[in-house]
Structure formats: C-alpha cells, structure tokens
C-alpha cells in the first residue's frame, strides 16, 4: 500500500529514514489538500465537532427546559430552525445532540477498529488454524444482520451508553479484520519484515512497530467510513425508540418524535435528519478523500 519514498528533488543523495517519513507525510498532505471532496469532508466533520464541543456557548436556548408558550414555532428570527412540541429550540437541541452522535461514532468505531487490528494482525501473521478460526468467527458475525443484532442487544442489556458502544462496535468489526489481515499478508514476506525477524525482533514488536504503521492507511479510511456507519446505525436505533434513554436529545429520537407532526410542522423531522445526513456525508467524504490521497494511482488514472 504505502510506497517506498521516491524523492524527486535530488535523486542522487541518499535518503535517511527521517526524511523518508517526512516526505511521505508531506506527499500525503499535498494529495489530501488537492482533493476537494476530502477537504469538504474534513470541514464538515470539524464544524460538527466544534458545534458539539461548544454547544453550551453557541446554543441560543436550553435544550431540555420546555417553553410552553412557544410550541411548534416555524423557523424564523426567534428560533432559527423552529421549535418542538414543548417549545424547545431545535437548533439548541441539535447542537447538544451532536455530542451524543459524535461520541458514539468515535468510541464505537474505536472498539471496532481495535478488535479488527488485533484479530487481523494475529490471523494474518500466524496463519494456519488460528487464521481459520478467526476468519470463521468473523464470517459468523459478518452474516448476522447488524440492525437485528443491535435491536436484540438493547433488549438484553439496557440501552446505556456503554452497552450501545459495545453493540455498535461488535457489529462493525468484521470488515476491519478482513482488511487488516489482507494488509498483513501483503507485507508479511517483504524484505524489511524478514530482516526485522532475522535481527531477532519479538513478534509483538514486528506486528505493532513494523507491520501496523505500514498497513494503517486503509484502516484509517475504513475507520472514517465506519464512524459514518455507526452514526447511522445509532440514529436508526433511536428512531425505533430503542436508543440511549437520557434526557439529552439524540438526533434519531428527534426525527421519531417529529414524525407525528409531519403534516403540521415539517421542520421538526426534516432538520434532525438533515443534520444526520450531513454528518455521515462528512465522514464518507473524508474516508473517500483519504482513500484517494493514499492511493495515488486512483488519481492519475
């Protein structure tokens, strides 16, 4: 995946390892910046993150306190995106909702990526029956319809934040294992790995210091796309009324409640859905752009 450094400035001078790293990174950034889709994704994601972090500062109203005199107000100067059936400002609620969605997205995907990396490294490195066993287990989890698993899971364990993190992580790891394993297989027999082995490096050292950094690119792409998937899944769960039960508003729950006002207050279900879409789109753009930046061949074709 990651190509060896090919310095263009001065091909004769020998290149030190330090320089190789820098030029690789610089090349990546250059490719990334040129990719408008990736930059757009990064901007969307950053804006969402800022909105979530500074929600208490930006939000014009309290997200939970009801104002019965201002129920279902259409978007206007007072309520930028309208208000809900209890007179709460939709924009404020969306800003606070960003906290839940983003935290869930990152933590659950963190769980999935960690499982994926560890199992993928082990399966790819050891091969044999260990590989077979891990891949069969992966197949099993891959085949269980994710959404159904989630629904059953929240029935067994209360839909607390931790159980939601775990459940979403558990349904998203199989593709990560496959990708990681493939990456390990592709570099395992390369000279630099062989020489590390010959020098007597321990297996964990080879796996985490030598193999992982060279295989991390595609995993980052997968993680970015994965966050998008997790946020979508969480919103579906909330929409079905099975999501995290806390007073803080979740985007999916808002669409669900807004559904009842479909013919009287369009803004109630439209804006939360729009925000979900925008966030997911941001992560998809980012992942897509990273993929392009990491695979120069995709650009030049």
């Amino acid at each position: 995946m990651t190509t060896a450094a090919r310095p263009t400035e001065n091909p004769v001078r020998p290149v030190t390892l330090q320089e190789t790293r820098i030029s690789n990174r610089r090349r990546f950034w250059r490719a990334f910046r040129r990719n408008r889709v990736a930059v757009a994704g990064l901007i969307i994601v950053s804006l969402m993150a800022l909105g979530a972090i500074f929600a208490p500062v930006i939000a014009p109203y309290d997200p939970i306190e009801p104002h019965y005199t201002a129920r279902l107000q259409p978007p206007g100067p007072e309520f930028l995106l309208g208000s809900d059936e209890l007179g709460r400002d939709l924009l404020s609620r969306l800003l606070y909702g960003a906290r839940i969605s983003l935290v869930i997205g990152f933590v659950a995907q963190g769980v999935a990526i960690s499982i994926g990396i560890v199992l993928g490294l082990i399966a790819g490195w050891y091969g044999g029956w260990i590989d077979d066993l891990i891949m069969r287990i992966t197949d099993i989890f891959f085949a269980i319809p994710g959404l159904m698993f989630l629904i059953v899971w929240v029935t067994i364990f209360e839909p607390s934040p931790v159980s939601i993190f775990l459940a979403l992580g558990l349904i998203s790891w199989p593709s990560n294992v496959r990708m990681m394993r493939g990456q390990v297989l592709s570099v395992k027999d390369l000279d630099y790995v062989l020489s590390a082995r010959a020098l007597g490096a321990s297996t964990p050292r080879i796996l985490f210091i030598h193999i992982l950094p060279n295989a991390i690119g595609p995993m980052v792409v997968l993680a970015s796309l994965g966050v998008a998937g997790v946020i979508l899944s969480e919103s579906i769960l909330s929409f079905l009324g099975l999501g995290i039960q806390i007073p803080t508003p979740s985007w999916g729950t808002m669409v669900n409640t807004g559904k009842a006002y479909m013919t009287t207050a369009w803004w109630y279900s439209v804006f939360p859905g729009l925000v979900i879409m925008l966030t997911v789109l941001g992560f998809n753009f980012l992942g897509d752009g990273l993929l392009d930046a990491l695979q120069p061949s995709r650009n030049t074709r």
């Binding site: 629904i151 579906i236 789109l281």
Partner: protein
C-alpha cells in the same frame, strides 16, 4: 467446479452452526419473561402456581444446555418452535411474512439495477466532467441518507397535499397493488442504487484501459456494442459481488422501511416481537435472516467462480 461447490458447501456448515449458537445465547440472555411483558399489571395478580405452570409448559425452566440441544434438534427437523404470544408456529409467521419482505427487496433491487448501473456507466463515460462529479456527489448523498428519514421525506412530499402532492398512499399493503409498492421500494433501494452507481463507475473505468477493449474498438465495432457487450460484461464481476453483499443490507433496511410504511413483512414483525419478549419469533426471524444472507453469499461466490475461473483454483 463440482469440487469447488462441494468445498464451499462444507465451509458453510460450521458458519451456520456458529450463527445458531451466537443467536441462541443472545436469545437465552434475553430477559425472557414473556408472561410479564404480555400480562403487564395482571401478571402480579396471577397465583404463582399458575405462572410456574405456564413457565414449565413453555420450557422456560429448563437449563441452557437442555434448551440448546432441544432447539437444535427441532431446527434440524425444520421446526422453529411456536410463538409464546401469537397462537402460531414461527415457520407459519415466516411463511406468511417473508414473501412480503421479498417483494420489497425485489422492488428495491429493481430500482437499484435500473438506476444504479446506468448512472455508473454515464459517470464513467464522462469521467472528471461536471456530470461525473455531480452523479458521484448525489450517490454519496444517497449512501449517507438515513433510510427512515428518506421514508419520512417521501411521505411528506408525495403522499399528502399539505407540503407536497398526494400521489401515493401514505402506507399499508394491498395484495397485488403496485402503487403501494412504489415508495417503499424507492426508499429501500436508494442505498443500493448509490452503492451500485459507485461500483459500476469504478469497474467500468478499470476495464476501459484493457487491451481487449482497445482491440474491440480497433476492429471498428460500434461504440455502444463495445460499451455494453465488452466493457460492462467484464465489469459485472465486482457488480455482482456488491449486489450479493448488499442483499443483507436490504434485509436490514426492511426493518425500518416496513415500520414506517406499515408493511406486513418480517421487519415489521421483529420490533413488536422484541417488545413482547417473544423469543421464539425473534430467534426464528434472526436465524432465517442470517441463513438467507449466507445462502445468498454462497450463490454470489458460485456465480463469481463461474464467470471467473481463476477463483476456483486458489
């Protein structure tokens, strides 16, 4: 080829068994007091002996191993058990509801095929023009859209005159009625349409530079014939794979789509079953869904091996 099919079939068995075990453990862990869920307030008023009797009758008192072995035995005989609450066998419920879900899945697939593939071909042909950028932007939006929200927007704009026009019925199912199928099919098919458009574009571009395409062009074959007969035909392998992988997604999408459109399929059955803690129904539908997914994957693999003989020998 026969050997390959056999090997793939044998590989499927442990996977099926594993899925069964995982799902059974989940179902076993479920706070499985359907009595309490169904009876609610009345539950407390029933004498304990009666409750104990019903629990015994439903087999809720047996140990994990007993229930596991018993259920596995049943399953091998094709019996999925009986609903705790509805007086129906689980296989009956599935037999009634699956055709309706399948109908939606086929509708969604149809939408995806007639829209996704042409969009992908056009985008590939117009690579790097604004048409390409626009189509790919739209398909990323399609992938990013929450299904339930899309369903609500469709209902808002196309089924009522307050914010849109009343073209289609809001929800519901009618035997043989095509008009009831339009919106749910569009909604369930959107994600696959967008995915197919992206994959088709990539696959078409990958094939375009190959020697045999150049040869076909050089022979003076009409442009369209090369495009469809040579280029698309060879781009079909990744397209078929993606279709196979995404049928599971259609099944998952049916939960939300059927809930919003009140469509009497499998997805619409599972949410109430969970609310009532009707374990046999939940387990039955989940098993059925996963098995279906595995079978579809197997078929995809076999088709794949059929069109690409190199696979068989790896």
């Amino acid at each position: 080829m026969a050997l390959y099919i056999l090997r793939r079939l044998v590989q499927v068995i442990p996977t099926l068994f594993g899925i069964f075990t995982v799902l059974f453990i989940l179902a076993y862990l479920m706070p499985s007091d359907p009595l309490r869920a169904v009876l609610g307030e009345q539950y407390r008023r029933l004498p304990p002996e009666v409750i104990e009797g019903i629990r015994e009758e439903l087999g809720l008192n047996d140990s994990f191993i007993e229930r596991y072995v018993q259920f596995l035995g049943q399953l091998l005989r094709g019996d999925l058990g009986r609903s705790y609450i509805l007086s129906q066998d689980v296989s009956e419920i599935i037999a009634y509801r699956f055709p309706r879900t399948l109908q939606l899945m086929i509708g969604g697939m149809f939408v995806a095929l007639i829209m996704g593939i042409p969009i992908g071909i056009i985008a590939a042909e117009k690579q790097y023009t604004w048409i390409d950028h626009f189509l790919m932007f739209i398909s990323l939006v399609g992938v990013s859209m929450p299904v339930f929200w899309l369903a609500l927007i469709a209902q808002m704009l196309l089924t009522q005159s307050k914010y849109g026009i009343a073209l289609f019925p809001v929800a519901g199912y009618e035997q043989g009625s095509l008009i009831h199928m339009v919106l749910p099919s569009l909604v369930i098919g959107t994600q696959l349409t967008a995915t197919l458009a992206r994959i088709t574009r990539t696959a078409m571009l990958e094939v375009r530079g190959q020697d045999y395409i150049v040869t076909a062009r050089a022979k003076g074959l009409p442009y369209r014939m090369v495009l469809i007969g040579h280029q698309l035909r060879n781009a079909l392998i990744p397209i078929i794979t993606i279709i196979g992988l995404n049928i599971g997604g259609l099944l998952g999408g049916s939960i939300v789509t059927e809930t919003v459109f009140n469509w009497p399929g499998l997805g619409r059955a599972i949410v109430p079953a969970i609310e009532r803690r009707d374990t046999p129904v939940i387990l039955g539908i989940l098993l059925f869904g996963s098995f279906l997914f595995i079978i579809i994957n197997l078929i995809t693999d076999l088709i794949y091996a059929l069109v690409n003989p190199r696979i068989r020998y790896s």
